[in-house]
Subunit: 346 residues, 2 copies
């Protein structure tokens, strides 16, 4: 007998090996907990912003009068490049030095222009910088983690539209898990896990949020966050620098549509953490052994019911297993029901 998705059940994430507890009957629960104030729409220029063109940064340096995408080294990096490769092997106190760099990517000189408010051409420029950073840092580091924290709720310390790149000599744990699971799937099935996923999800349709000739955005079957999405290429590709000009343009286009839907859902600048996973570099890149990999992006937005009420991944989630209330299928339906073309503030 098939699992009844209207009743409590668990779903398996074949990309990481994790599980999620789904409790669709729980959406009716009243909420008396924390209510967040949505971030107000920011102005085009903020004299106090340390990311606006021409303003001084926290470190004291002054930003150039940049006009497009602007990349600089993080003033308070979590990583350092000049690290000797030390390791302690005690089974209870195991540690290793970690070398890497942290950079900041300003998406626009305009303080108020988050991704959905950029033009397709401006978004394409962001994609190009992501790809260039990957190519450059991939020559020295095993993993190039491109990401964006958006909104105060997601720990973003400045509303100026910006993302980050943290490149590391080691493969971080989430990447290591995805690498192992994609490798095993290719060995078992002869096809890349995320290419199979794209084909299957297009055929099923019910979890699709956006689609164009090259790209697909779905709420994955195993999504943990209420409106979590997975952005997938419809063709085999392992890393951003491989993308052709056309594929970059269509990526910019689906990014605009997806983030427009997000903002329209609760008529707010939708907070999230998003980031790209791509095949590791380093020793691995010297071998052709990355066929199991597919480039993809995860969006992890915290909101659940409105611009004010979020999902908390706490308690049972931290100690036992992530839990979600509404089903991925219902979340996809809700995102499909709002416009991907016209932004609510337009």
């Amino acid at each position: 007998m098939a699992v009844d998705f209207a009743r409590p059940h668990r779903r398996y994430n074949p990309l990481t090996g994790g599980w999620v507890q789904v409790s669709p009957q729980r959406m009716g629960r009243p909420w008396q907990g924390e209510v967040s104030l949505p971030d107000p729409p920011p102005p085009s220029y903020d004299p106090a912003c340390y990311l606006c063109p021409g303003n001084p940064r926290v470190g004291g340096e002054v930003n150039p009068a940049y006009e497009g995408v602007h990349v600089f080294d993080n003033d308070f990096p979590a990583l350092a490049e000049d690290q000797p490769s030390e390791a302690d092997h005690d089974p209870l106190l195991r540690a290793e030095a970690s070398a890497g760099v942290c950079r900041v990517i300003c998406f626009s000189p305009d303080h108020g222009k988050s991704l959905p408010l950029l033009t397709p051409e401006q978004l394409r420029a962001v994609v190009d910088v992501w790809a260039d950073q990957t190519a450059e840092l991939g020559q020295r580091f095993a993993n190039v983690q491109v990401f964006e924290n958006k909104g105060a709720m997601m720990g973003c310390s400045n509303p100026h539209p910006h993302g980050q790149v943290w490149a590391t000599a080691h493969l971080p744990q989430e990447l290591a898990a995805e690498d192992a699971h994609q490798r095993a799937y290719l060995a078992d099935h002869g096809r890349a896990l995320l290419l199979d996923t794209a084909t299957r999800e297009i055929a099923a349709g019910e979890r699709v949020v956006e689609i164009n000739d090259d790209w697909l955005a779905i709420i994955p079957f195993w999504a943990a966050w209420p409106f979590e999405t997975l952005l997938l290429p419809r063709f085999a590709v392992q890393r951003m620098p491989q993308l052709t000009g056309e594929q970059r343009a269509s990526l910019a286009s689906i990014l605009k549509a997806l983030t427009t839907r997000y903002d329209n859902l609760f008529q707010t600048s939708f907070p999230y953490s998003m980031g790209w996973h791509q095949a590791p570099y380093g020793p691995d890149s010297l071998s052709p052994d990355i066929d199991h990999w597919q480039l993809h992006a995860h969006f992890y937005p915290p909101l659940l019911r409105s611009a004010e009420v979020r999902k908390f991944m706490v308690g049972y989630e931290m100690l036992a297993e992530p839990q979600r209330d509404l089903t991925p299928e219902r979340a996809a339906e809700m995102l499909r029901a709002v416009s991907g073309l016209v932004h609510y503030r337009a």
Copy 2:
């Protein structure tokens, strides 16, 4: 050469197989992001509270005029007991029905009395209920997850002092990982991982926060959250119901001391998610094969610098690997520097 803990490094968690990125040099970073208002101290009774004695609950039922610890079935449970055991085996869309129960445990009739403000006797009564719930639910379920979400920041929807129990027929993923790692450690070393950890940490001393004859609270070497603690028995024990009267009394005592230190650190009712991990029941409990297990509690508090400034586990943390700024050794030192005896509000 040994790893330099004053520079960026990674530490390995032998209990789960996870890693954490430690960036001690980053504590100087200025914070311009979200500042939370601490929860105000609640009154002894709140007529609008659905957990206070004699008040109506959200489901409509009326609470009894309870005087000690009070347990009832969650009005909006994430789990349901009467579940057939269905499973879908598609490698990309794998799911299974999940059976379980969710209960709420009010720690005190007094709306304002969080754990550190209870008397040792009242805390002992909480420990007894945790043990009794475990024994009762362990007869029908593989895992009994006892936990508490404290504070609005941790998704707690009501300041009335309360915790929860979610019991499930399956082993949730975090427990499955701890089970596998404890099993492997016993096979390799002939001793239980967490008993060895207790011995080693007492000898080292630098990560110890609280200790008594039976129990030990440490910031584990591999802690991800700034002031995360691990509460360990100093004797072999797999589950709460096995604890003797004396061990329960000394547990109540260390719980009071640890949570008093937490509150004193930033002079606030310290938010956290905490919960107990114990040996699974079910098929496993019929065999004596739980020697690799040690009962223990994790406390995951979000605060980083003050009552207002928290750590956000977002972006890099969600996509790649958890990251912390201050070292576990420094965090332990800070918690040791405040009183475990006198609460700041006393």
